[in-house]
């Protein structure tokens, strides 16, 4: 089977590989390193919020001569935490990592449709990531106008916004190449018998996600070009006439509008929110169906919901802009669409909840993380509703409530799902089992600490504490009654960091000394478990190309083909 690639040199096999599995792992490892790095940035920020102006332990000397985080440093860290977590951490892990590794095997394909583009996609991502990291060491420093890079602040800033924009161009290229590849792969390379309604839900979520990436990123590319022109060529796309900087009018032609940037940015960044969450839903669906040992409840309505959600995510972007003065007519339109988009999300989440009913649930580590995802994502989603209503948003906008809301979606939501995915597919990737005891400690610790970090944000936000304060609000009278939560949240964040050591240790210990896993460790029905060895063969995945005869979740089918198992793999025809 490997005759086309007989003696691959090291660099071809592990570095510039065209094998989707190697590329998936490259994506996943890089993304996990970025996630850890972005988390550390946040730990330093949180330290300063709890103990403003005090010396930061351990890394203080790197930050400033006095050992504290400076206000400018805080702004940079804030901007880079958001950028790194979204563009270099979660999306590359969820789409680049899991999508690349799992999707082709789940549809019975030997590789992605365009293996070389796949490699180019990873390396473009890598260059973008290096540029972002390099900006920490450049004389101007990193970008510091928030991950949203709002104009005109980002244009008049003398910090590293230019390098941020160049980095983004590489990341956009990477996601373009990746999304073309994913869509073409799903449409063209489904194996024989794998009809659309037999696709695992994970494949559906990746498919819709790829469309979002394909169509939402180009407007940001246009916006990045405009902003680069504003910064480098002196144009005024986002600069209005008569803009005061300090006490002087900025010497530019003017005539532009900062709102244009916000529209173009959020046209990407709202679908991006669904790019963050859809693959997570897909992973959770796989893990839930497998560990409840019964079919997903409402598979079809989930599929239709995810498609509808994809469409709707393109027409809700301006709900991030209720306070910009864009007008009540616009606000009315966008709050209506925002209320509508909550319907498919609720359908998917309800279907996942109902899937639990009557199942004989196996509480292994991946399942715990998947179960943790459900209420956490529920809290994240429901707290978003007041933000989608223009009148409530006037009070809540730019407070910690917003931070609490979207972190509940992305951190204990998506990241829990990603952990579930890592614990679930680790035996497939390495052929080794992960340690259950360490995994459970990791889950329980993370679950408690995540809530400790993010739930007080709702309290602070409702009290009106702004999200952008370097000192956490010590100088504001209205923040005084809720100020004590800052220390609690910081301690929780440190605890959260400590519990991740159980995960990191687990990865390495299991890799080195883990028990051997069987090829279908979880008794799953989908092709990556049922039809491929662990780990799957290089370049071809399967010993024999599987044909598909069933839907993806044929669990509780006791004793078919004279067996005593409770599931029917997708590629096995049932006789009689």
């Amino acid at each position: 089977m490997t005759e086309h690639h007989p003696h691959e040199p090291f660099w071809r096999k592990y570095i510039f590989s065209v094998d989707h599995k190697v590329i998936g792992l490259q994506y996943a490892i890089t993304a996990m390193v970025f996630l850890l790095f972005g988390f550390c940035l946040m730990l330093i920020m949180r330290w300063n919020l709890a103990y403003p102006g005090e010396i930061v332990p351990i890394v203080g000397k790197l930050l400033s001569e006095e050992g504290m985080l400076t206000p400018d440093g805080y702004n940079s860290f804030g901007a880079m935490h958001g950028t790194i977590m979204v563009f270099l951490g979660v999306v590359p892990l969820a789409v680049g990592g899991f999508g690349n590794y799992v999707l082709p095997i789940q549809i019975g394909a030997p590789d992605m449709a365009f293996p070389k583009l796949n490699m180019a996609s990873y390396w473009s991502f890598f260059v973008g990531g290096v540029l972002m990291l390099a900006s920490f060491f450049m004389p101007q420093g990193t970008a510091s106008s928030g991950w949203t890079m709002y104009a005109p602040l980002s244009i008049i800033a003398e910090t590293g916004e230019t390098i941020w924009l160049f980095g983004m161009v590489f990341l956009i290229t990477s996601s373009l190449l990746g999304s073309v590849n994913f869509i073409a792969t799903v449409i063209q390379l489904r194996t024989k018998g794998l009809t659309w309604m037999r696709l695992p839900f994970f494949v559906w979520t990746q498919f819709v996600t790829a469309f979002l990436l394909l169509l939402a990123f180009p407007p940001l590319e246009a916006a990045a070009v405009f902003q680069l022109m504003d910064r480098l060529a002196g144009t005024s796309f986002f600069l209005p006439s008569g803009l005061y900087v300090g006490t002087e009018v900025l010497n530019v032609a003017g005539g532009g509008t900062p709102l244009l940037w916000q529209h173009l940015f959020w046209f990407l960044a709202h679908p991006e929110v669904y790019v963050l969450i859809l693959p997570a839903m897909g992973i959770v669906a796989e893990v839930l169906a497998n560990n409840t040992r019964k079919p997903l409840w409402g598979y079809r309505s989930m599929v239709y919901s995810v498609i509808f959600l994809g469409f709707m995510s393109f027409v809700v972007w301006a709900h991030h802009m209720f306070l910009t003065g864009m007008g009540t007519t616009m606000a009315a339109f966008f709050q209506t669409t925002t209320m509508i988009i909550s319907i498919p999300s609720v359908i998917i989440l309800s279907a996942l909840f109902i899937s639990l009913w009557g199942g004989s649930i196996r509480f292994n580590t991946p399942m715990l993380f998947a179960l943790g995802f459900l209420p956490m994502f529920g809290i994240g989603g429901l707290t978003g509703l007041p933000l989608g209503l223009a009148s409530a948003d006037i009070h809540l906008h730019d407070t910690y409530y917003v931070i609490g809301h979207f972190h509940y979606v992305v951190a204990p939501g998506t990241i829990f799902a990603l952990f579930a995915g890592i614990y679930y597919w680790f035996p497939k990737v390495t052929g080794k089992k992960m340690n259950e005891r360490l995994g459970k400690i990791h889950f329980i610790g993370s679950f408690i600490c995540m809530n400790g970090v993010f739930s007080p944000m709702f309290i602070q936000g409702l009290a009106g504490v702004s999200r952008r304060l370097y000192d956490g609000g010590t100088t504001y009278l209205h923040a005084q009654p809720v100020l004590q939560w800052n220390e609690f949240m910081t301690m929780s964040a440190i605890g959260l960091g400590l519990f991740q050591f159980f995960f990191i240790a687990n990865l390495f210990i299991s890799l080195a000394k883990g028990d051997k896993a069987s090829s279908n460790e979880w008794d799953a029905t989908t092709l990556e478990w049922a039809a491929a060895p662990s780990p799957p063969l290089p370049h071809v995945n399967f010993e024999k190309v599987p044909n598909v005869y069933h839907g993806p979740y044929e669990y509780s089918t006791n004793g078919d083909n004279g067996s005593n198992r409770d599931f029917t793999p997708q590629h096995e025809a049932v006789k009689g």
Binding site: P110, D111, A113, I183, L214, F217, P219, A233, G256, L264
Partner: protein, 197 residues
């Protein structure tokens, strides 16, 4: 095992992989230029001092370049059709013509439009009309250059594939042609929007 459907079409979708790939890529390009055109509309609607395109830019040069690109779209189809009729010589002729027309477009654009404008200090920083003019036509020109490089490769060293795998080579020309048409269509929207209105 090779990735299936790289050359032959998949029966139920009727497409080979690259064809679906290029259409998806073009869809994303539509979003890119869609965003650029939308920005143009927004900037113009919000401006009190917008210029009239036909008074600032040379309509005859723009018309000439429009014709050049339309003809090149025809020749690129002829190039593909020649391959379908197994005529490599004619392919070389038509692809060569396409490349020449593309080069003509660029030379005219740079020599008779960009350079004189820069000489007259009609540069992007002076007014948003020129800013959007340079960004829109500049990005379009980059797309033309990209297409030229690909076409030149298929006209020169890439054409060796005709000997080993004529079907895949024909597919490649079809893909390159689809892209070239897109570049042409963008210009057809660009010309009236910027030059005439």
């Amino acid at each position: 095992m090779q990735v299936p459907y790289t050359v032959k079409a998949r029966p139920d979708t009727g497409l080979y992989n690259a064809k679906i790939g290029i259409w998806l890529f073009l869809a994303s390009e539509v979003m890119l230029f869609g965003a650029l055109f939308s920005s143009y509309i927004l900037l113009r609607a919000g401006s009190t001092t917008w210029f009239v395109g036909s008074e600032e830019l040379s309509v005859p040069i723009g018309t000439f370049n429009t014709m050049v690109l339309i003809v090149s779209s025809v020749t690129v189809v002829m190039a593909w059709a020649s391959l379908r009729m197994n005529d490599l010589k004619k392919y070389k002729l038509y692809m060569g013509l396409t490349i020449l027309l593309g080069l003509t477009f660029l030379v005219v654009k740079i020599m008779f439009e960009y350079l004189p404008k820069i000489e007259h200090h009609h540069i992007p920083s002076t007014h948003n009309f020129y800013a959007i003019y340079f960004v829109l036509t500049g990005l379009h020109a980059l797309h033309v250059i990209g297409g030229l490089i690909v076409n030149a490769y298929f006209w020169g060293p890439g054409a060796k594939m005709w000997e080993t795998d004529p079907e895949q080579f024909t597919n490649r020309i079809e893909i390159a042609g689809l892209y070239w048409h897109f570049v042409d269509i963008v210009w057809i929207f660009l010309f009236p929007t910027i030059y005439l209105l």
